[in-house]
């Protein structure tokens, strides 16, 4: 037998079937199993389980926090958009107001200018009328004088009253 050649065991050739060692193996196996069981169930497994649970919790919390932050970001964006729209509306309103103000000012200024122009024009007309009136008077004077002179030159003797009447008649006509 092979085992006999090495001079090892006196039992059967297969050490696995050497029943004299079974008690020994089983005894140590049971001790080993009990020790491993207690190490695992008392120390190792609760610890690893706790670590895994803690990690799971941390991850869940982080995801929740991230979700929260995301919601906040969306909210902030909405607020920003709203503010932007409000600002735009306000700007439009201000522009419209300014336009209206300017228009009103402009209208007022135009009206004032118109009034001033009208006043100036009236003054001018009055001046013209005066000038015209003076001119007419002057013309009448000149005409009277001229007529008197002409009549005198003609050798006639003109009385002032009839000359004036004639000139007036002529001027009217």
């Amino acid at each position: 037998m092979a085992t006999e050649a090495t001079g090892a065991a006196s039992g059967p050739g297969m050490p696995q079937l050497d029943f004299s060692t079974f008690g020994n193996q089983i005894f140590w196996l049971l001790i080993t199993l009990v020790v491993i069981y207690f190490i695992l169930s008392r120390i190792a497994l609760p610890r690893i389980g706790a670590v895994l649970a803690e990690r799971q919790g941390t991850i869940t919390n982080d995801i929740a926090a991230a979700e929260n932050l995301r919601a906040k970001a969306i909210e902030a964006e909405a607020a920003y958009n709203k503010a932007l729209a409000d600002a735009r509306l306000e700007a439009n309103r201000i522009i419209a107001e300014a336009k209206a103000d300017i228009q009103a000012d402009l209208d007022k200024a135009i009206a004032k200018a118109d009034a001033q122009i009208a006043a100036k024009a009236a003054e001018g007309e009055k001046a013209i009328a005066e000038i015209r009136a003076t001119a007419l008077e002057n013309v009448t004077e000149v005409a009277k004088d001229t007529a008197k002179e002409i009549v005198a030159a003609m050798g006639g003797k003109a009385d002032a009253r009839s000359v004036t009447a004639a000139v007036n008649a002529r001027m009217k006509g």
Binding site: M1, A2, T3, P12, G13, M14, L17
Partner: protein
């Protein structure tokens, strides 16, 4: 010639029972091959069935191990 007819019988028996290991290898190959064929047809279902695959392989291989055990017993224990 050394040995006797009983020794010869032991060796022949061990050799024949070693054939059983080769047959178990056929069985294991059959299991794995069919699993692969199925997995390639439906890859999404493959991941959930690896445990079944290993159980099948283990059962097929156990019989080969039994024949190996018979060979060992003939060689060393009888």
């Amino acid at each position: 010639m050394e040995g006797d007819i009983a020794e010869m019988g032991k060796f022949i028996g061990a050799g024949i029972s070693a054939l059983g290991m080769g047959l178990a290898a056929l069985g294991v190959g059959n299991v794995a091959g069919n699993f692969l064929a199925g997995a390639l047809r439906n890859p999404s279902a493959a991941a959930g069935q690896t445990a079944t695959l290993f159980i099948g392989i283990a059962f097929a291989e156990a019989l080969g191990i039994f024949s190996f055990l018979v060979a060992l017993l003939l060689m060393f224990a009888v």
